[in-house]
Each structure stands twice: as structure tokens, then as C-alpha cells.
């Protein structure tokens, strides 16, 4: 029989709050985390808004400043969220073989120090027309090795491996905006195939940085509604004009069901489906019919042994760019057929912004919260219908929906797609429950 994977710990750091409880409160009160960009002086940038984790304070998050202050924001977020999840799951006190505990995150690229980098470029151009030698000698002088050593995407996973005394695999993956979704899905597969029993998984990212804004702005991906930050992210709305950079972390303890039951852990939900697919179309754009996105959704359903009608809510990628929302809508229709019109679909990026590689993990936390409360969060700023986006996007207000299986879907640059399904945990064999219900 296939090993079942349950969630026993959830941790998050988001623009709406730095714990699952705060996140839930923010989502259901319809708060919007988008505001003026404050993390650096963006006053002359074309984009001056972001969804920041406000008033981030290591001490308030329970982290020792001296140890973590040299780390990028995403590492700090990941440590805080990872420790929350571990604490809730109680695995720190559990007695088990630590070779059976691994870490798999989808943390993104931390950027170099902007001033030190551009100063090094400038020095090299002044002295030898841009040759590498002066760049390197200047950089060696002005970059802080301690900061640089921490500025790697795998450092959050490594640190958390140490903090949890994990002795199993430690990995980080980057597949653009589906990174953390895949990290969770691949963790699930590692447990299913018996390599480990417990995984800390999820992701963290912050691209609210001069390089991040430069990159996304040059790709014309960002909303330019600088004067009205709260209305900037408009998923599936006819007047949408791009996404807003967000940041944060979502981390989970997931484990084999028997392992969780034996140690008496509280089970918060079951991860039942995972699908991943490549568009194999273009690096810049999604396939015009969303074939990769539809394939990921279909594969997630197949791996969960569920039918389209079983899904009660979809947390969409819904970035608020013209192309994403149109293609994602097509893909949902392609994968769900007529059922697509029945399933409520919302994009919480309207409140959280786009936490890039971490978005899937944060949205999985949203899905677990929705399963627990029976209330799904709305798509804010969805006001003006778009003929290309004709599903039920849960506009304006949160909605009570009693459902047992929910899906989160993500899409990334390069044609990356991934979807996860989480289900209410039910005792007994899943197949037996399904058969009993059918009878």
C-alpha cells in the first residue's frame, strides 16, 4: 500500500503576518499587504511598490540577531518559519533515527549587495575598461565574505538541517516560481518511496532588491500602479497590469502517516497529489493553451487518485499579469472540463504579492488554513470582468466552502508548472473511505 503523507507543522512569514494564525486573520479580514517599497530607496525607480514583510525583527521572531543578521532576508524568513513548523509538529522532542529526517526547500537566488557590486563594476571600467582583474580586486576589498558565504540559495536548507539535527538529504531546488511547490512535491515522493519518514519542506524568497526590481521591471512583468498600491494586484481583472513583488516563507513538516500517528502528532492535513510538467514552449511565455499547466494539474489529480469533481477549491497562481491569468484560466478549463465553472478559484497574490520561488509554499499554507476553517479567501481587486477569465474567482469576500480536497497551482519562467493537492485528513485507508462514500 502506498505510504500516506500528512502535514504536522506549518510555519510562515508573509506580508500579512508572521504565523499561520496571523496569515489567516489577514486573509479573512481582506487586508492587502502591498504598499510603498521601503527596503531600499526606490524613489526614482519606475516601480516603487512591493508586498513587504513589515517591521521584520529577528528578536521578535525568536532568532538571535548576532547569528542571523549577516544572512539574506529569505534565510531569516526560512529559519523563522521552519522553526515554527518544527515546534508545532513536535519533532524536535521526538525520538527517531535522524537519518530519516531531511530538508528540501525551494529558496530562490539571493542577490549581491547592490552598492558593492556596482562600485566594483565602476572601478573596473575606470581603470581597465571593464576587465575582470580590477572588478575582482575591488570586490575582494569591499564585499564582506561572511555576507557572501550566506548569499547562496541553499543556505536556508543547510542551516535548518543543522538546527533540526537532520541527518538525511538536504536539498534546494530552483525552478523559478514553482520551486517551493516542487520542493514539497519531491519531498512527498521521497517519503512515499521509503527513503525518509519526515521532511521539512517549502521555500523562502525575497527579490525586493534593486536587482530584483531591475530584472522584473525590464521583463515588463510588474504593475505600475505606484499611486494606488492596494489596488495594484488585480488577478483575473480586465484592468490588470502586472504583479507586485512580494516576499516571505512557507515551511512545513510533512511525514509518513504511521510515523506521525505513533508519536501522537496532531495531523493538520494530508498531501495527496503532486504533478509537475514542462511547457516545452518558450523561456519567456507560457504555452498559449496552457498545456504544461493543464498537464501538471492532471498529473496531480492522477497521483491523488481524484477526479475533477473532487476538488473544492483552487488557489491559483494568479499573478495579475495579462498573460498568466488568461493562460491559467485556459489550463484550468482544459484540465477540469465543465467542472472548472463549478470550482471556486482565488488568487491570494492580490493580498500577498508574488513571493516568487516561495509563493507555492505560502499558498499551500493558505490551502491548509482553508481546509481547517472551511472558508476560502477571496481574490481582491477582481472587479471588472475579462472575457478571457470567466471562472468563479471568489471576488471581494471570503466564502464558506465545505470541501475535502483543495489544489494549489503554480507557473514559472522557463515553462515550469507544478500543482499540489491537500486533503482533509481522514482515518482509515483512503481507498476504503472513497468506496464507502460512493456506496
Amino acid at each position: 500500500m502506498q505510504r500516506r503523507i500528512v502535514v504536522t507543522g506549518i510555519g510562515c512569514v508573509t506580508p500579512l503576518g508572521n504565523s499561520p494564525t496571523e496569515l489567516a486573520a489577514g486573509l479573512y479580514s481582506g487586508r492587502i499587504g502591498v504598499g510603498r517599497l521601503t527596503l531600499f530607496d526606490a524613489s526614482n525607480f519606475p516601480v516603487r511598490i512591493a508586498a513587504e514583510v513589515r517591521d521584520w525583527d529577528l528578536a521578535a521572531a525568536g532568532l538571535e540577531a548576532r547569528r542571523w543578521q549577516h544572512c539574506p532576508r529569505q534565510t531569516q524568513f526560512a529559519i523563522a518559519a521552519g522553526l515554527q513548523a518544527a515546534r508545532q509538529s513536535g519533532i524536535d522532542d521526538a525520538m527517531f533515527d535522524r537519518e530519516r529526517l531531511g530538508v528540501y526547500l525551494g529558496c530562490g537566488e539571493p542577490f549581491e549587495d547592490f552598492n558593492a557590486f556596482t562600485r566594483s563594476v565602476h572601478a573596473s571600467m575606470k581603470s581597465d575598461g571593464g576587465a575582470a582583474n580590477t572588478f575582482t580586486s575591488t570586490a575582494l576589498r569591499i564585499f564582506d565574505p561572511e555576507v557572501e558565504r550566506e548569499a547562496e540559495p541553499d543556505m536556508p536548507a543547510i542551516h535548518l538541517g543543522g538546527l533540526l539535527n537532520a541527518r538525511g538529504p538536504i536539498a534546494n531546488c530552483i525552478s523559478a516560481c514553482v520551486s517551493s511547490t516542487q520542493a514539497i512535491g519531491e519531498s512527498m515522493r521521497m517519503i512515499q518511496q521509503g527513503e525518509v519518514d519526515v521532511m521539512l519542506c517549502g521555500g523562502a524568497h525575497s527579490t525586493i532588491h534593486p536587482f530584483g526590481v531591475t530584472g522584473f521591471q525590464r521583463l515588463s512583468a510588474l504593475s505600475l500602479r505606484n499611486d494606488d498600491p492596494e489596488s495594484a494586484v488585480r488577478p483575473f481583472d480586465a484592468d490588470r497590469d502586472g504583479f507586485v513583488i512580494g516576499e516571505g516563507a512557507g515551511l512545513f513538516i510533512i511525514e509518513e502517516r504511521g510515523h506521525a500517528l505513533r508519536r501522537g502528532a496532531e495531523i493538520l492535513g494530508e498531501i495527496t497529489g503532486y504533478g509537475s510538467a514542462q511547457d516545452a514552449y518558450r523561456v519567456t511565455d507560457s504555452h498559449p493553451e496552457g498545456r504544461g499547466t493543464a498537464a501538471a494539474i492532471t498529473r496531480a489529480l492522477a497521483s491523488a487518485k481524484l477526479n475533477p469533481q473532487d476538488i473544492g477549491y483552487i488557489n491559483a497562481h494568479g499573478t495579475g499579469t495579462i498573460l498568466n491569468d488568461k493562460v491559467e484560466t485556459l489550463a484550468i478549463k482544459r484540465a477540469f472540463g465543465q467542472q472548472a465553472y463549478r470550482i471556486p478559484v482565488s488568487s491570494t497574490k492580490s493580498m500577498l504579492g508574488h513571493a516568487t520561488t516561495a509563493c507555492g509554499a505560502i499558498e499551500l499554507a493558505v490551502c491548509l488554513i482553508s481546509l481547517q476553517t472551511g472558508v476560502i479567501p477571496p481574490t481582491l481587486n477582481h472587479e471588472k470582468p475579462d472575457a478571457d477569465c470567466d471562472l468563479d474567482y471568489v471576488p471581494r469576500n471570503a466564502r464558506e466552502v465545505s470541501c475535502r480536497h483543495v489544489m494549489t497551482n503554480n507557473i514559472g519562467f522557463g515553462g515550469q508548472n507544478a500543482a499540489l493537492i491537500v486533503s482533509k485528513y481522514e482515518e482509515g485507508s483512503r481507498t476504503r473511505v472513497a468506496v464507502a462514500r460512493a456506496a
Binding site: E99, E148, Q278, V283
Partner: protein, 434 residues
């Protein structure tokens, strides 16, 4: 259960491709590793780097470096070249070679073809920002970073960010070859390649793919990666030579390269009459971050070796050779030798150990798969290659580095890699027999 009964599934290697300082075709690569004349030649010092830098000097990133391709694919690659940094170019070239070598093109439903790569964080290249910095500089040469948002940003190429994503080698390969299965990129530095092999096997075992293109690419030679490599490890600054396990080793040598292999479910491969390089018997990764550096590496590697042997149904006595990480630093090689000793006991004195970093230097995430391919070629050819620059035995490293050209390869090997923070990954491979 509609999944393949996962313990029964056998995964085999049916194609290989390389871009390396030892050659940018598989044949050249093997010839260099096994050429007694080559072994006495030294590498020229590279540009910008501080040490002797093994780099694939004949890889220029021009379209002819991407192996012999059908016209349609040449067109797609040529168009995409401006979006590819050097790591991506090398990764794509190695991937194209492996696919061509395996002959799987057109043999499968695209939905059943996956891809999993290992890569490093892509460092921002100074040259991409020169125009922006210039635009923020006054006539007297003063640079004002505060002007960036207004004057600098628009001088950056519109698609610049897409060059910096580590998943680009995998994405380009998926696009060029219509691979629509699962796609992922593991950015876990030196242990990425073996982890990518393990993830691909999981994907085949869970019946989500019939074949997966696995590869890894890396460089420690671009300006910023080079700085980072220096922050992380001892570099053999003084003579620029990597001497794995040698008593007088002084550090690692920056390098670059990429490799790729095609993994296939056995029945699928046999049905189409594929050439078979070997079978992946099992894999495991382990960590011990909390311990101090030396103990962490020794413990993690010991654990990865032990679990890989168990999962593959092998014992130290049945292993033909070990392809060591062999970074060439004092600490790393010692910890590794101790770990091998911990698991192999006295057999560590007789089991041959090779380490291609003596030839190739440290190609970051790319090294692991190049080393795996070197050992696959050794299986195929029946003999190993000497550890380049290994001359004086280190009494503390109680393993047996290969010094001869005719040393038998055996019929199985372990490919191990580690990362100095206490991470290790290992793959067991054997010659294939039904």
C-alpha cells in the same frame, strides 16, 4: 496501485554527453583521461582566475559546439543563445550530446520525458551592468548609485533576469527537445548531480516518466563564482594543481564543465534496442550539518555510502571502484578517506579510488556528473584512469588512489560527492545484465 511497483523498477543509462576541459565530446574526454602523454602536460593559466584553470577552451558557445543537430534544432538554439550564460550553454550542449547518443528522440510520448538538472546559483555578470553604471556616472567619472532607478535600469537588457535563473539549462533543453514531463533543477552545489540522478530515478519509479535527461553544469571561473569559491574552499593558489589524496595537496582548482546522461526505465529501453552504459542500482544523500566541518563531512559521507550500499543490495566487497569527490583540499580529502575507511574497513586498502578533479578541476555543480560519466566510460572500457597529479601517498588518507592506466574498473562503482558544510550524496552503478 497504478504506480510501477517501485522496488522492481530498474533504471539504466542509455546516453552520455560532456563539455569539459578534458574534451567536449565523450570520446575526447575518455582519451584525455586515459592518455599517458596528456597526464604530463600542464594546463595554461586562465584569464581572470588566480590559479591554473582547466576550462573547455575549445568550447566557445557557438552553434557548432552543440553537436551535430537537425536544422530545426540548430535554429532554435541559435535563436536562444543570447539568453544563455556559459553554464547554460555548456549544460545544453552536454544535454544535446546525451540525447543524440541515446537515440531516444521521437521514441516516446513527450509527456513521458522528464528532465532534472543540477546547477549553481548564477552569479550576476559585471558586463551586464556596465552600460547601466556608465549611465549613472558623471563626466568626471564619479558614479552615483542613487541614479540607478532613473538612468541605470533602462540600460539593462530586457531579458537579463532570464539569463540568471539556474533552471535555464533544463528549460532550454525541454524546449529544444519537447520534453514535457516533470522538470526540476537542484541547486545544492557539489552534491546536486547525484541528487538529480536520485530524483530522476524516483520519477521513473513512480511511473511519471519513461526516460529522464539528467545533467549538471557549473563553473567556478566566472568572476563572481570565482570569488565565492575562494570564500568557501582553500584554492591551490600556489601552483594551481589539484592533487586529490596526495600528501602535498594544497587545495582545489577552479574549473568548469557540464555533463548529461539519459536514464530510462529498463523495459522501455530494451524494447527500443538502446545501447546500455550501466544500471543505477541505488542512491542516497545524507547530512550532518550540526557537527564541526571535518566530522560533518566524514559522518555525512559515511552515511551516504552505507545507505547507498544497502539500497543497492551491494557490499563493499562487491564494489569495483569508488569515484571519490577528491576536491584536493587538505580537509576534504582526509574526511573523505576516513569515511571510505569507516564503511569499507580494510577493503579501503584494496578498492581502487579515482578522482577526476585532478584532470578537470572543480566545476562546482557540474563536477558530479562528469565524474559519474568518467566512471561509466571506465565500466564500458574495462579499465580505470590514474588520479592525475597524485604522486606521494598521504599516510593519513588510507585509501588506494589509482596510479596506473590498466587498473581494472570492475563491474560496479560508487560515485560520491560532498559539500564542505556536511552534505554528501552517492549513486551506485553497475554494468548492466538482464
Amino acid at each position: 496501485m497504478d504506480e510501477r511497483s517501485s522496488s522492481q523498477v530498474r533504471v539504466i543509462v542509455t546516453g552520455v554527453g560532456v563539455v569539459s576541459s578534458a574534451g567536449r565530446t565523450v570520446d575526447q574526454f575518455w582519451r584525455t583521461l586515459t592518455d599517458p602523454l596528456h597526464a604530463s602536460k600542464s594546463y595554461s593559466r586562465g584569464d581572470g582566475a588566480t590559479a591554473g584553470t582547466p576550462r573547455p577552451a575549445d568550447f566557445s558557445g557557438s552553434i557548432d559546439d552543440f553537436c551535430d543537430l537537425p536544422d530545426a534544432q540548430r535554429k532554435v538554439i541559435r535563436k536562444a543563445l543570447k539568453l544563455m550564460n556559459r553554464e547554460t550553454q555548456m549544460g545544453v550542449a552536454a544535454g544535446q550530446q546525451a540525447l543524440a547518443d541515446s537515440g531516444i528522440t521521437g521514441q516516446y510520448d513527450p509527456d513521458r520525458l522528464g528532465i532534472c538538472f543540477g546547477a549553481d546559483n548564477v552569479a550576476i555578470m559585471p558586463e551586464d551592468f556596465q552600460r547601466g553604471v556608465e549611465a549613472c556616472s558623471s563626466a568626471d567619472g564619479h558614479f552615483d548609485a542613487d541614479r540607478w532607478g532613473e538612468d541605470g535600469i533602462k540600460e539593462v537588457a530586457p531579458l537579463w533576469l532570464l539569463k540568471c535563473l539556474p533552471n535555464m539549462p533544463a528549460c532550454h533543453l525541454a524546449i529544444i527537445n519537447d520534453l514535457r514531463g516533470s522538470g526540476n533543477t537542484i541547486t545544492q552545489r557539489d552534491v546536486s548531480a547525484n541528487m538529480a540522478v536520485a530524483e530522476a530515478c524516483r520519477s521513473i519509479r513512480s511511473d511519471t516518466a519513461d526516460a529522464v535527461l539528467v545533467g549538471a553544469t557549473g563553473t567556478t571561473l566566472t568572476t563572481f563564482n570565482h570569488l565565492h569559491a575562494g570564500f568557501e574552499d582553500e584554492i591551490a593558489e600556489y601552483d594551481g594543481v589539484c592533487r586529490p589524496f596526495d600528501r602535498y595537496r594544497t587545495g582545489s582548482v577552479p574549473g568548469e564543465g557540464a555533463g548529461a546522461i539519459v536514464l530510462e526505465e529498463m523495459h522501455c529501453a530494451l524494447r527500443r534496442g538502446a545501447t546500455i552504459y550501466g544500471e543505477v542500482l541505488g542512491a542516497a544523500s545524507a547530512s550532518a550539518v550540526r557537527l564541526d566541518r571535518m566530522a560533518a563531512c566524514r559522518t555525512a559521507m559515511g552515511s551516504a555510502l552505507r545507505q547507498t550500499l544497502r539500497r543497492s543490495g551491494q557490499s563493499p566487497a562487491s564494489i569495483g571502484h569508488i569515484h571519490a569527490h577528491g576536491l584536493g583540499t587538505r580537509e576534504s580529502d582526509l574526511a573523505e578517506a576516513q569515511a571510505i575507511r569507516d564503511i569499507f574497513g580494510d577493503l579501503a586498502s584494496t578498492t581502487p579510488v579515482v578522482a577526476a578533479k585532478g584532470h578537470l578541476g572543480h566545476a562546482a555543480a557540474g563536477s558530479g556528473v562528469l565524474e559519474l560519466i568518467a566512471s561509466l566510460l571506465a565500466l564500458k572500457n574495462g579499465h580505470l584512469f590514474p588520479v592525475r597529479h597524485y604522486i606521494d601517498a598521504d599516510p593519513e588518507c588510507r585509501v588506494r588512489p589509482v596510479t596506473r592506466f590498466d587498473e581494472p574498473a570492475g563491474t560496479s562503482f560508487l560515485n560520491v560527492n560532498m559539500f564542505g558544510r556536511g552534505l554528501a550524496s552517492c549513486v551506485a552503478v553497475a554494468a548492466f545484465s538482464v
